[in-house]
């Protein structure tokens, strides 16, 4: 009768029993944690908050960086060459040298420039004038025609002020031009501010030489190589041109973001360390409450390292569960922010952010393990006679 009941009961919880048998330290740890649920929960909450903070700040930082670089990306590929102080304009010799330096790595766009008063259907305004044969390459927007013949492209801000539309006419220094395109200044990044500019065919400029040359390189590396090449060709003997490559600006922006992210992560990391201190405290309390029990374990032949392992599993479990909760919450919040703001979701879902989540989880786990280390060591290494007395 009694035996029957016994076998019934062991069938009932056979899975739990089997798990307990496979992971003796783990099953003991889980039960010990369930003894002081509130306390374990609060210690775990610290890890949840810490991991949450690391993940939200880390992921948002990465996402902002990704989004910003995606928008500024084009900028990094431009090299702008202008005459050095005291020099006049860039002549055909300089343009030739730049073309050699850029060969195979980018498109060379010589620019004439000047300023003039422009009048349109509804008004008059002073505008920056640029002359180029390749407006499309410079502005990298669809609706600017490849070449301008007998017409101009007008920046959107200027066009709004003048009341000009595609097809209407504007007058510059007594000449009338048809507006062939409006440049959308939002979607483009360029060293010249296209919003308030008028782009004309270069023939309309009197001078033969150019105010600046823009090289649209194929990549950031090309841009760097071209900038170096131009300096080498034109500036070796004397500073004739100034070369501005936004690659260095861009890498400084990247550095800034790295610094910002590092700072944010450090702040969030501190909250995780604080969580580790609270786990340390909780484990110290647990261990001193269970001194007698630990003494019994040691007396009946459980080894020190086995006691240590059980206690470490206990504190690490707090980190694992807390870290998982924090990771889920943090990711959810960051995705929510991306969905609710202009931050694109694609900037959030980048591989780096996967690393942020894994790293935060792992760090949370390590912190919890570290917090349990000393209390567990102290408890396991105490002579059983002492702990039994306690």
């Amino acid at each position: 009768m009694a035996d029957e009941r016994a076998s019934d009961q062991s069938v009932e919880s056979s899975l739990a029993t089997r798990l307990a048998r496979r992971f003796p330290a783990g099953s003991l740890a889980v039960r010990n944690l369930s003894r002081q649920r509130l306390r374990a929960g609060l210690a775990m909450l610290g890890i949840v908050i810490g991991v949450f903070a690391v993940i939200t700040l880390g992921m948002l930082g990465t996402a902002l960086q990704t989004a910003a670089l995606a928008e500024l990306g084009g900028l990094g590929n431009q090299v702008i060459i202008s005459p050095d102080d005291g020099e006049e304009n860039l002549g055909p010799r300089e343009v030739q040298a730049i073309r050699q330096a850029a060969a195979g790595g980018g498109t060379v766009i010589p620019l004439n420039s000047g300023g003039a008063s422009v009048s349109g259907p509804n008004g008059q305004s002073f505008a920056q004038l640029y002359g180029t044969t390749q407006p499309a390459a410079l502005f990298a927007v669809d609706d600017v025609p490849d070449t301008l013949r007998q017409g101009v492209a007008v920046g959107d801000e200027l066009a709004a002020g003048l009341g000009a539309r595609v097809g209407s006419a504007v007058e510059i220094e007594g000449n009338r031009y048809r507006v062939l395109a409006i440049i959308d200044s939002e979607g483009t990044f360029s060293p010249i501010r296209p919003g308030s500019a008028v782009v004309l065919p270069p023939d309309e400029f009197v001078a033969d030489d150019y105010a600046q040359v823009v090289v649209q390189a194929d990549s950031a590396d090309d841009a760097r190589a071209i900038a170096d090449g131009v300096r080498e060709r034109l500036n070796t003997r004397q500073e004739r041109v100034s070369v501005l490559s936004l690659t260095s600006v861009l890498s400084r922006i990247t550095e800034f973001f790295a610094l910002l992210n590092g700072f944010l992560l450090a702040v969030a990391g501190i909250s995780l360390v604080v969580a580790g201190v609270s786990i340390f405290n909780v484990m110290l309390m647990t261990v001193s409450e269970r001194r007698g029990e630990i003494g019994v374990l040691r007396a009946v032949g459980v080894h020190r390292d086995e006691v240590l392992r059980t206690l470490l599993v206990e504190s690490t479990l707090l980190g694992v569960v807390g870290g998982a909760l924090g990771a889920i919450l943090g990711t959810a919040v960051v995705v929510g922010v991306a969905l609710g703001t202009r931050l694109p979701l694609s900037a959030v879902l980048v591989p780096t952010n996967g690393l942020v989540v894994l790293g935060a989880f792992g760090f949370g786990m390590l912190i919890a393990l570290g917090g349990g280390l000393y209390p567990a060591y102290r408890a396991a290494w105490e002579p059983p006679v002492e702990s039994l007395r306690g």
Binding site: A2, R5, R35, E293, V296, A299, G301, P384
Partner: protein
């Protein structure tokens, strides 16, 4: 005194054991030149007032504490040479402990408490634990946790736990300390059965009832053994 019953060396022997502690007011001698042998199949009661050194002596027998001078021998081998790890192994294999206030783990069921000493071993002792609990009359309390058991039942779980490793020696600290007389007698009956199976039992107590069940009673007064 050393009237061994033919099983070879006695399971445990204390030889000239002295234990001194550095207390606040100078050195305290807890045990003073104690010679003692645990014999197989025999229940020995160590009687004495509180503070007479009974617990210290039990700790020496259980390899939980080291003497200041003298030697502890287990199956004829000196224990002092063993590492902490080896001692733990010896306790796991050879010694059974019954503590005064049971010292059961509150989160574990009766079966789990009984197989606690073997929990980190590969082999599964659940069947033996169930069997032992049946032997002490707790077959219907296997899944109960300590707070669902009475004092006597807890003590019987503790006794079952001390037998899980088939020990050579069973050490009991006040086995009837927290029990009423009837329950105490039942527990002592169990202990006698264990000794009959060839285990050397040492019970430390100041309960005269234990003396009635013991084959041999020794008195410990101020660290000096008498009897």
């Amino acid at each position: 005194m050393n009237d061994g019953d033919g099983h070879g060396s006695p399971p445990l022997r204390l030889d000239g054991i002295t234990k001194q502690y550095d207390g606040g007011g100078g050195t305290v001698t807890a045990l003073d030149d104690v010679d003692f042998t645990v014999e197989r199949g025999e229940v020995t009661a160590i009687m004495g007032p509180s503070g007479s050194g009974k617990s210290t002596m039990l700790n020496m027998l259980g390899l939980l504490d080291d003497p200041t001078t003298g030697s502890v021998e287990l199956l004829g081998e000196r224990v002092a040479a063993l590492s902490a790890r080896e001692r733990t192994d010896v306790r796991r294999k050879r010694v059974g402990f019954v503590f005064q206030d049971f010292h059961l783990i509150p989160t574990l069921s009766a079966v789990e408490n009984v197989r606690l000493p073997t929990r980190f071993l590969d082999a599964d002792y659940t069947d033996r634990a169930v069997d032992l609990l049946g032997r002490v009359g707790l077959a219907d309390r296997l899944r109960h946790t300590p707070d669902e058991l009475s004092g006597g039942q807890k003590q019987r779980v503790a006794i079952a736990r001390s037998l899980i490793n088939e020990p050579d020696v069973l050490l009991a600290d006040e086995p009837t300390g927290n029990l009423d007389r009837d329950t105490g007698e039942a527990v002592l009956g169990e202990i006698q059965t264990i000794a009959d199976a060839g285990v050397g039992v040492v019970a430390v107590t100041h309960d005269s009832l234990v003396g009635e069940y013991a084959d041999r009673t020794v008195e410990l007064v101020d660290g000096v053994l008498d009897g």
